[in-house]
């Protein structure tokens, strides 16, 4: 079976923050088009670092980053947005003392002079998350954690990306709302949006993902299709051991 060219790919990358401690070592990862790719692993495994590298926020010291099969190592984040890729990072990425609407407007920076397109992008975010419309004149920092998450998701999706990178989108969010967010993520491929989902919630991640990577200490531990993960008891136990979480629990 010929595999499609990944939308995004890491090829044997080494990544360091400061000095020469390599946080990622020879990591590889492919984000398959139209699918949900999951990434799991214990705290500090390098999941966020991998995502930030895939988005140009960090430059690998070795190895390559690819978009649509083209090597783009060292490309700045705004060029990723131009190529239809958005990131919702693990840490809050809002501008707290700007209004909800200003936060959305800033996401339209690259086409800010095209007023019609900006208005359309804002409408799209408001249609997807009506709460944002009600709160549009409020400071982003004045909203609840869950609402802020919606704003981040709305902001990423307002640009009609081809692919979104989501880093623990439901962390610190009430279970009911989290379930809604997973539903939402699950529906993204039907809208033609490719997803890379980093999650601590292994069970949910394996449930919505098509393909799952397990990372450990900056390296690939194992990866496989989601069905392998749910069917194979050995694999399940292995993950339970690494991630300290049982998929079948």
């Amino acid at each position: 079976m010929a595999t499609e060219t990944p939308v995004l790919e890491l090829r044997a990358v080494d990544v360091a923050y400061h000095g020469d401690i390599r946080i990622l070592q020879g990591m590889s990862m492919a984000v398959r088009p139209g699918k949900i790719t999951g990434v799991i692993g214990p705290n500090g495994a390098g999941k966020s670092t991998a995502l930030r590298t895939l988005y140009g926020l960090l430059k690998p010291v070795a190895g390559d980053v690819l978009v649509d099969g083209e090597v783009v190592t060292g490309m700045p984040p705004w060029r990723f947005i131009e190529r239809g890729i958005s990131l919702v990072p693990q840490n809050r990425s809002l501008f707290n003392e700007l209004s909800v609407e200003d936060n959305l407007q800033l996401a339209c920076w690259s086409f800010r002079r095209d007023k019609a397109r900006v208005a359309e992008a804002l409408e799209r975010a408001y249609a997807q998350f009506p709460i944002l419309k009600d709160r549009r004149t409020q400071y982003a920092g004045a909203m609840s954690g869950g609402q802020q998450r919606f704003l981040e998701l709305g902001r990423a999706l307002a640009l009609q990306p081809r692919a979104v990178l989501l880093d623990e989108p439901t962390a610190m969010i009430a279970p009911k709302l989290a379930a809604e967010i997973y539903e939402f993520i699950h529906g993204l491929p039907k809208q033609g949006i490719t997803v890379l989902l980093v999650d601590q919630n292994v069970r949910q991640c394996v449930r919505v993902a098509d393909h799952v990577y397990v990372l450990e200490l900056g390296r690939n531990k194992i990866d496989g299709s989601a069905s392998d993960f749910t069917k194979d008891a050995d694999l399940r136990n292995l993950i339970a051991e690494w991630v300290d979480y049982r998929i079948d629990a």
Binding site: L57, P77, L87, S93, F95, E97, R112, R155
Partner: protein, 293 residues
């Protein structure tokens, strides 16, 4: 006595307006670029010398030097950014490196001004007619009144730009969350170059106003304005332009009123006294904003 106090207040507002502009541009640089611009005072004095040179060589009145300073300093700032910053970014601690680098730039700029203009104190031998105006019971030089009017227009324009336009909001957004501005797809290199150019332009224009308001300047006056700028930035809260505006005016008032009540030599000590008090009592600045890092 009342006249003296009134004099102190009026002059405090005028001088404070100048300090506010210096502080606003300096705090913008720090907030957006994390650059501690030790050479900011030399940028300012460079503007004063530009106005001086244009007047003594071409007879151009200081008011006409304002747009010249704005444009030329904007262009120089833009160029300097692309020259200096890539070198900074390579360092492990760009913030400390920026301090050292800009300290070097400050010495170099002072030396260049010394070469061109020599060490004598200069002033622009230009006067408005009438030379002074009556404000209530006191007389204020027309040059100071004109300068104050320009300060108000500039401060208002800058505030409008920062709070009402998208590029201005992008600059503030960078101060609030420097990583997020990259994530939403703003080309931070270009935005930073713009911030550096804008801050340089404000410094240059402020320099022209310094030449109008203060009796004289020389190639070494820059250090004094840098220090006042830093005091204002800390008083206003790091990276807080509105705080700097307020702090600049308060600092100017304190300094000028101090000359009314205290011996002349004490005036600079008052400034430091305020700084120390604020650092001890309200380390986040007068407006109490958390330092957004």
């Amino acid at each position: 006595m009342e006249i003296l106090v009134l004099n102190g207040i009026v002059n405090g507002l005028i001088v404070g307006g100048i300090y506010a502009l210096i502080g606003m541009s300096l705090t913008l640089l720090y907030g957006v670029l994390r650059i501690v611009n030790f050479a900011h005072g030399e940028f300012v004095i460079g503007g004063s010398f530009l106005a001086y040179a244009l007047f003594s060589n071409l007879g151009l009145a200081p008011l006409f030097s304002l747009p010249v300073a704005a444009l030329s300093f904007f262009a120089m700032g833009w160029g300097a950014y692309y020259l200096l910053l890539p070198r900074l970014q390579k360092s492990d601690d760009p913030e400390i490196m920026s301090f050292l680098m800009m300290y070097g730039v400050s010495i170099a700029l002072a030396a260049v001004m010394l070469l061109i203009f020599e060490a004598d104190s200069r002033s622009i031998d230009y006067s408005f007619t009438p030379i002074s105006m009556k404000v209530g019971p006191i007389y204020v030089s027309t040059a100071r009144i004109v300068a104050f009017g320009i300060v108000i227009v500039l401060a208002a324009a800058l505030t409008w730009f920062l709070f009402r336009t998208l590029p201005g909001k992008a600059l503030r957004a960078t101060i609030m969350n420097p990583e997020a501005i990259k994530i939403v797809g703003v080309d931070v290199v270009k935005l930073s170059a713009f911030a550096f150019a804008l801050a340089s332009a404000i410094a240059g224009v402020t320099g022209v106003l310094v030449a109008l308001v203060f009796p004289a300047f020389n190639p070494f006056s820059g250090a004094e304005y840098s220090i006042i700028g830093f005091i204002v930035v800390v008083l206003g809260g790091l990276g807080n332009p509105l705080g700097a505006l307020l702090a600049g005016i308060l600092y100017g008032l304190a300094e000028q009123l101090a000359t009314v009540f205290l011996p002349q030599a004490m005036a600079p000590i008052v400034g430091f006294g305020i700084l120390v008090a604020v650092i001890l009592i309200r380390p986040t600045g007068l407006m109490g904003w958390r330092a957004q890092r």
